[in-house]
């Protein structure tokens, strides 16, 4: 399954900015919870992380080596 950005709902204030800025419509608020949908469309642009005012939403990168 394709990985999605991560949300810490304890830090999230449900401001909805991540929903608004997501170009692929992959983020929605359902029953007062941030839910990531349409993982196949998420291009990991990380704009949702950049605009999150509380740092609740993160887009971590896995660091891997391929030249060995």
């Amino acid at each position: 399954m394709k990985r999605m950005p991560e949300i810490n709902m304890q830090q999230c204030n449900l401001c909805g900015l991540c929903v608004e800025v997501c170009k692929c419509g992959a983020i929605v608020i359902q029953n007062q919870v941030i839910v990531f949908t349409k993982a196949e469309l998420c291009g990991w642009c990380t704009i949702c992380e950049a605009v999150c005012p509380t740092g609740a939403l993160t887009c971590p990168y896995e660091i891997v080596i391929k030249d060995e």
């Binding site: 394709k2 990985r3 900015l17 608004e20 800025v21 291009g43 990991w44 990380t46 704009i47 992380e49 950049a50 605009v51 005012p53 740092g55 993160t58 887009c59 971590p60 990168y61 896995e62 660091i63 891997v64 080596i65 391929k66 030249d67 060995e68």
Partner: protein
């Protein structure tokens, strides 16, 4: 369309101004609501109004001759979008685009100058806000000129990949580790990718030239 005096009082230029002065200033403002993705102003075009961001997020960016976009910063509520061009009389130094639904308060340049003449204490606040902006820009110049952030980011990537097979980092964490801003890290990652040292693959940063990355990291050692 009513300008909210509480919102106005939270803007750096007006914070702490007495109520009568705020009320007078309010009459000079207009509100502009901008849908997501709409361009607010364009680089190199003349600026006639100063804009304050009241709600939402605005991307401030420059575009190279080759059409490549470079994000300078993401403006947040309370930020001024185009003070430099308003005060030096030059064209817009960046373009601005709404990345969410945005509410702006704007004031025409001549009305702002009128307010500054009428309320010298407001001019003092503007000078302080401009000085804070200049300080931020100097820090950015310092980061780009002396800190060699791509080298630091290279070092962070090598250290991270070496510790555990499954280490993960956000751009903000890399910025904290490199002692710089998230935007500078984003630029550095792009630069490392252009040098074919890494490859950005969705949520993976793939090191494709470890020796090259090490050479770059050693430059800052």
């Amino acid at each position: 369309m009513v300008i909210d005096i509480t919102a106005l009082s939270k803007l750096s230029y007006f914070a702490g101004l007495p109520a009568p002065e705020l009320e007078y200033a309010r009459q000079s403002f207009f509100e502009k609501n901008v849908p997501r993705n709409e361009v607010i102003f364009i680089e190199e075009e003349p600026a006639d109004s100063l804009y304050f961001l009241v709600s939402g997020v605005v991307k401030l960016f420059k575009t190279s001759a080759q059409g490549k976009e470079q994000i300078i910063s993401l403006a947040r509520p309370g930020d001024v979008l185009n003070d430099i061009s308003i005060f030096d009389g030059g064209p817009n130094e960046v373009s601005a685009q709404a990345v969410s639904t945005v509410a702006l308060y704007g004031i025409k340049k001549d009305r702002l100058e009128g307010l500054m003449q009428k309320y010298p204490q407001m001019t003092g606040r503007i000078v302080r806000a401009l000085a804070a902006h200049t300080r931020q820009l100097i820090t950015l110049v310092e980061d780009l000129s002396f800190k060699h952030v791509p080298g630091r980011v290279a070092k962070i990537l090598l250290q991270t990949v070496g510790t555990d097979g499954n280490q993960r980092l956000t751009q903000q964490e890399m910025a904290n580790m490199a002692g710089t801003a998230r935007e500078v890290v984003a630029r550095s990652l792009k630069s490392l990718e252009e040098q074919q040292l890494i490859k950005m693959e969705r949520h993976n940063i793939v090191i494709v030239d470890k020796k090259g990355l090490q050479r770059l990291a050693e430059e800052v050692a």
